[in-house]
């Protein structure tokens, strides 16, 4: 079968030929439909992320997959079920985090991430997975199923951020999403049902397709060239919830200034090393005197995938069609890895979905 991989000494993805995997006991064989591309894939390609699987000179890319069960292999699935795989796998048999259904809370060394660190990804015509790491989704979502994984990342971040406000009565009604990449835009759409007013900050000048998407969702675009994060309260309003998906480290700390009293910032970006000055006394004081919180969040668990399926089902086809600017077949997969100002979200299509 064909797969898209990056080699040890390579700096771009290539199509390779691999044997079709055989499901082990407890695993199902899945025929891949589509696999999304995100910033983490670009980091993996650039070699800046985790390691390849042990003993391998290449890594199959892709962690945002959707497929159909080809061979249930005595798992509870049936042929044709549409499934999305979760990303983390226990590296050496089970551990307590996986046993609890919280692989996203496992520390370093207690997990592999398929397509990211230690395990091959899903960009292949077929993949196998233990049944417990496959989430069934409605057939109607088959085409958009590669968005379940990124949506699950947001579900987890929201769950943890809201939990941090659960010791008191909290009725948030304004949110600020930092970042107008695909995850930021998806999050704006997902927050729409819970927040009255949503702002999304980016550094693009109009005209820009992401600004169009933000406005089509009824949210307000904040151009950070005019309105940096600490200026949001004066330019608009202090917000109850900040969702940071930029990886721009000053934003993590500036978000404290954008928050209303009792607000919380969810941090999801993964920046490199960088030293810079902050108004540390004021930020510390703000956190304390106004009961603010910052909550970091990575990856997601099975229940977040289930919540994501629910959330995606509620999003309009029009929004999804705007968000996904390209789904490219395997023979022109390179187009899915182009990242320019007209690209929002892309995927590689390995097979078209056909209802059985």
């Amino acid at each position: 079968m064909k797969a898209i991989a990056v080699y040890e000494d390579g700096d771009e993805p290539v199509v390779i030929e691999k044997p079709r995997p055989a499901p082990a006991p407890g695993e199902a064989l899945v025929r891949t439909l589509r696999v999304g591309v995100d910033g983490t894939d670009h980091e993996v390609i650039a070699g800046g992320h985790g390691g390849r699987p042990d003993g391998e000179d290449h890594m199959v890319l892709g962690h945002e997959a959707v497929g159909v069960v080809e061979d249930p292999n005595d798992t509870p699935f049936e042929v044709g079920d549409v499934v999305v795989p979760t990303v983390r796998r226990p590296p050496n048999g089970a551990n307590e985090y996986f046993a609890r259904g919280e692989p996203d809370m496992a520390p370093d060394g207690e997990y592999h991430e398929r397509g990211i660190v230690g395990a091959h990804g899903f960009m292949a015509e077929y993949f196998t997975s233990p049944a417990e790491f496959l989430v069934e989704i409605p057939p109607e979502l088959a085409e958009w199923g590669f968005l379940v994984e990124p949506a699950s990342i947001t579900e987890k971040a929201i769950e943890h951020a809201f939990a941090s406000r659960s010791a008191f009565h909290w009725e948030p009604d304004s949110a600020l999403v930092l970042g107008n990449g695909s995850l930021g835009l998806l999050t704006v759409a997902m927050l729409d049902s819970d927040f009255d007013r949503i702002y999304c900050l980016g550094r693009r000048e109009r005209p820009d397709p992401t600004v169009d998407v933000i406005e089509s969702l009824g949210a307000t675009y904040v151009n950070s060239n005019d309105t940096p994060v600490p200026a949001v309260p004066d330019a608009h309003e202090p917000v109850d919830f900040v969702y940071e998906a930029t990886g721009y480290a000053p934003h993590a700390f500036e978000s404290i200034e954008a928050l209303a009293p009792n607000g919380v910032g969810a941090l999801l970006g993964v920046p490199g090393d960088w030293e810079f000055e902050i108004e540390g006394g004021r930020l510390h004081r703000e956190l304390v005197l106004h009961n603010k919180a910052l909550v970091g969040s990575v990856n997601s668990g099975y229940e977040h995938f289930e919540a994501a399926v629910e959330s995606l089902s509620g999003l309009s086809e029009a929004f999804l069609a705007d968000l996904v600017t390209g789904v490219h077949p395997l023979d022109s997969f390179e187009a899915a890895f182009v990242d320019d100002d007209t690209t929002i979200k892309t995927a590689v299509e390995f097979a078209a979905y056909e209802e059985r």
Copy 2:
């Protein structure tokens, strides 16, 4: 009656004569037993904190009080009940935060704090308070009742920090308290029942009475001159919970480095303005990749006072006697405001407790 106040143009507390207050409907009259002194009182004296009550040229100090009901005035209390007053009061009748029993979550302008901002404190022979802001405590705790308020501050911080970890299975067993002041030491004692290993960081060299208290509690003293906060994981271990009570702003951010994966830092210090450099990229990344959180916490609500009474009841008399280095009668009250290396916690005694 006599009261201890600081004048607009004064820089130290003085004893003044004021009329004994008459309880309004719904208020009880309380005879003051003892009132504790903490860092906030020193800030109020230095003029660096909130404002005096409207139209007043002085403010009566004190927010850590215990007293006995002298006149219940048709409230549910009885003469002789031992009570501790909460600190925040609604500035203009009730508001939603007070109505919910969460005055600690009220934003600026929605509260006064007795003895701190906008309202006279409790350092007087008598005070009045609406019954709903008086917490009855067991007579056995009468002598230590002035510790209920500071203990309530810790109860709230712990509640909020733990809430931030409630979305997953979290079993913390190590804690680091930043600050060996009276609140830090009280917190070490309060955490003792929940954590297997507790560290308390200060910058004092031995011999020092706070180090003795830390060690008598079975905790480990960390001298920040030898082991700064980011070095704690290597010198000891990464900790699940950090409690910051120093007001030293770099600690708020460095605490991220001291935390184990999935850990949380509760921030309580109130620093002044101060710009400094941080390893922002690494700290942001740490928060995200290891699911860490920072939770600011200020003040406390009625239920935190109740929890504090419970916690204080469980502490040993020996510890409390070590912690409280001086209880000074009104005629030598100045001694309660001395803050030197032999002082840990002090209080002014307005009347001795006599069981009725």
